[in-house]
Amino acid sequence: MSVAIMTTIFFIVGYLLTFMKKQLPYVENAILFLWLSTLSFHLFTILTMQLEWIVIKDDPYLFLYPILKNKLITPVLFVIFINVYLTVKSIFSKVILIMLVIVSLILFDYISIQLDVFYFKQWNYLYTSILGLLFIIGSLGSVKLFSFINSKEVRR
């Protein structure tokens, strides 16, 4: 059930990313996805296996779940966010967009807990929000870095 739900969500965000009008070129979107995905997976591994702040249910059938959630859906969500963020102009819209992403992350964690995939031991939704905010800052920083590299290339 839980893997089926996550697979469906993955297809939905995948479709959204594929067919949306993107502000960033393909290479930049790909780099952003790879960075976020690697970081998200490392963090989840540290939180579950090393620190054990989040306890994941010991069920071999669920092994696909963290891959879908952390390695695919979460980074795709941020790539969608960045591409939408670059189109909106007003501060209000930008704040709403950031809040929407954080609410989505909280919702993913809530669904995971309701589906009995994992539970929080020393973790909570506030930490999820802070982590989400750090990912947003990281994503925006990456976009700045890309434009810096591009402008340096133009000057060459």
Binding site: Y26, V27, L34, W35, T38, Q50, P60, N150
Partner: protein, 167 residues
């Protein structure tokens, strides 16, 4: 339960650091081939793939191997994932340098998969990988072949997208 293989700073750590330094030095010395962002992408994809397989084959339900000194995640594990970056960059670099096309793709990927398995075997001898459940280093060959084929397809997708909308 955490398995501890050793606690000293020895062969596995040195192998990771030295091979990372040598491969980065090679990248720096080679003439420029790609746009910097494209170079970053080819470097990052190696790290991504390394992480992906180590967190799927090497953990969770399968858990076919452990990396470095313990079965837990350590800082040197993260460094060892960076080690995959130069390999994937050099794979793409020489792919373009030799102008690989058509049937040559098959042999090119075959050669690089052999290099991959060979490096993994050396890593295993130097205690970077600790295989479990009967896993052998040559099992990784089809994984390298699959991943490198995907990378070639990815490269062609990038070229196609670049023609459609240049960076």
């Amino acid at each position: 339960m955490t398995i501890v293989y050793d606690q000293a700073f020895n062969s596995n750590e040195w192998f990771i650091i030295i091979s990372l330094m040598i491969s980065i030095a090679i990248i720096v010395k080679l003439p420029r081939m790609f746009h910097p962002l494209e170079s970053i992408l080819y470097f990052s994809i190696g790290i991504y793939i390394g992480t992906f397989f180590d967190h799927t084959l090497g953990a969770g339900a399968w858990d076919f191997y452990d990396v470095n000194d313990t079965s837990n995640f350590q800082l040197i594990d993260a460094v060892s994932y960076i080690m995959y970056g130069p390999y994937s960059y050099l794979f793409m670099y020489f792919y373009v340098y030799f102008g690989i096309k058509g049937w040559k793709n098959l042999f090119y990927v075959l050669v690089w998969s052999t290099i991959g398995v060979g490096t993994e075997w050396i890593s295993h001898l130097l205690n970077v990988f600790h295989y479990e459940k009967g896993y052998e280093f040559y099992w990784s060959f089809p994984i390298y072949y699959f991943v490198q084929t995907l990378q070639v397809l990815f490269y062609h997708t990038i070229q196609y997208k670049k023609k459609a909308s240049p960076m």
